[in-house]
């Protein structure tokens, strides 16, 4: 049998997904490129935001455009307090008829790093209100453990600041988080290119959430396809198990039967 892709899917809160890529809908050159990139990525879960309806817009058509084709994951981007994040999640639940939420509570608009204190407060409250909470958090094992203890459905540590394209700045922390956390782990934010996604998957992450790396690429559709393949490759490598690193060589070819002229 030729193994084409990982045998196991992604499981979050009792739901199963074939794709281990979650993708954002922001900052594509235009709507058609976004749709083509979403398609090429194979992603089933797609992130969206919640914003005030301006008098001029009359309601953006994104909901109707994607309804029935994807699983919506609304975020609470732009929220700085637990209170705002909880109300935003409730609005999203009402608008999208989903109790899933990508919980973001930002502490600083330059780094967009999470405000851990507010994040934990919001996570606890949303879990109590029956939400399936997927929190964007620091690559900090203790924060991840606290989010797990609060009843989150997954934990989404950052690789690097949102939109920075820096890749995985602390693979060792992600390894520790992987060893300690039983929840699905989704690397969210900071990836730049396909090899970053592969590395994350080789570290044992369950999935990747990205947006800028695809939307901002010269060819977003091609990068979406690259990310899909990179994630599948990384996952297969993780399941296969890499060989240990050794300082010295070990010959691949047999040493017996060498000629001796």
């Amino acid at each position: 049998m030729v193994l084409q892709s990982s045998e196991q899917g992604l499981f979050i809160a009792g739901k199963s997904f074939r794709s281990r890529l979650l993708i954002g809908t922001s900052r594509y050159p235009n709507q058609q490129v976004m749709l083509d990139a979403l398609d090429a990525s194979g992603a089933e879960i797609v992130t969206v935001s919640v914003r005030r309806v301006s008098l001029a817009s009359g309601g953006e058509g994104l909901f109707d455009l994607l309804r029935g084709k994807v699983t919506f994951l609304p975020n609470t981007a732009g929220c700085y307090t637990a209170k705002d994040a909880v109300l935003t999640a409730e609005l999203a639940r009402e608008a999208l008829e989903t109790n899933w939420v990508k919980l973001e509570v930002i502490g600083d608009d330059q780094t967009l790093f999470p405000d851990v204190e507010q994040l934990l407060l919001a996570a606890g409250e949303l879990v109590k209100k029956g939400f399936v909470v997927l929190p964007y958090c620091n690559d900090d094992p203790i924060t991840c453990r606290k989010l797990e203890d609060l009843g989150c459905a997954a934990v989404m540590p950052l690789a690097a600041p949102i939109g920075s394209g820096m890749g995985i700045r602390n693979p060792y922390n992600l390894r520790i988080i992987r060893e300690q956390c039983k929840l699905p782990l989704i690397v969210d934010a900071g990836l730049g290119t396909a090899s970053d996604a592969t590395l994350a998957m080789e570290l044992g992450m369950d999935a990747i959430l990205l947006n800028s790396a695809v939307a901002g690429a010269r060819d977003p559709v091609k990068m979406a396809a690259a990310m899909k393949l990179a994630i599948e490759g990384g996952r297969l490598a993780f399941e296969a198990g890499r060989i240990p690193r050794k300082l010295y060589a070990m010959a691949s070819s047999p040493m017996d039967g060498l000629i001796d002229p």
Binding site: G24, R27, V50, L91
Partner: protein, 69 residues
């Protein structure tokens, strides 16, 4: 003469009575998808939009789904 309320952070003179009427006044159709409303920080359930009465000084947030990461 309507009542003065706040809609999405700005003063709005509302000539109707119910939340459904407010949405229509704002150019939205209450049956369109991807919308949600909070009044004074509490969610207004879609099933109750036609029955909810808007009161003077109410703070109404009307949101929709937009692109996000």
């Amino acid at each position: 003469m309507g009542i003065k309320i706040i809609v999405n952070g700005e003063v709005w003179e509302f000539g109707g009575a119910t939340l459904s009427e407010l949405l229509l006044e704002r150019g939205l159709t209450p049956d369109q998808g991807g919308l949600a409303v909070a009044i004074n920080g509490s969610i207004a359930l879609r099933s109750e939009w036609s029955e909810i009465t808007i009161l003077p000084s109410d703070n109404v947030e009307i949101i929709h789904i937009v692109r996000g990461g």
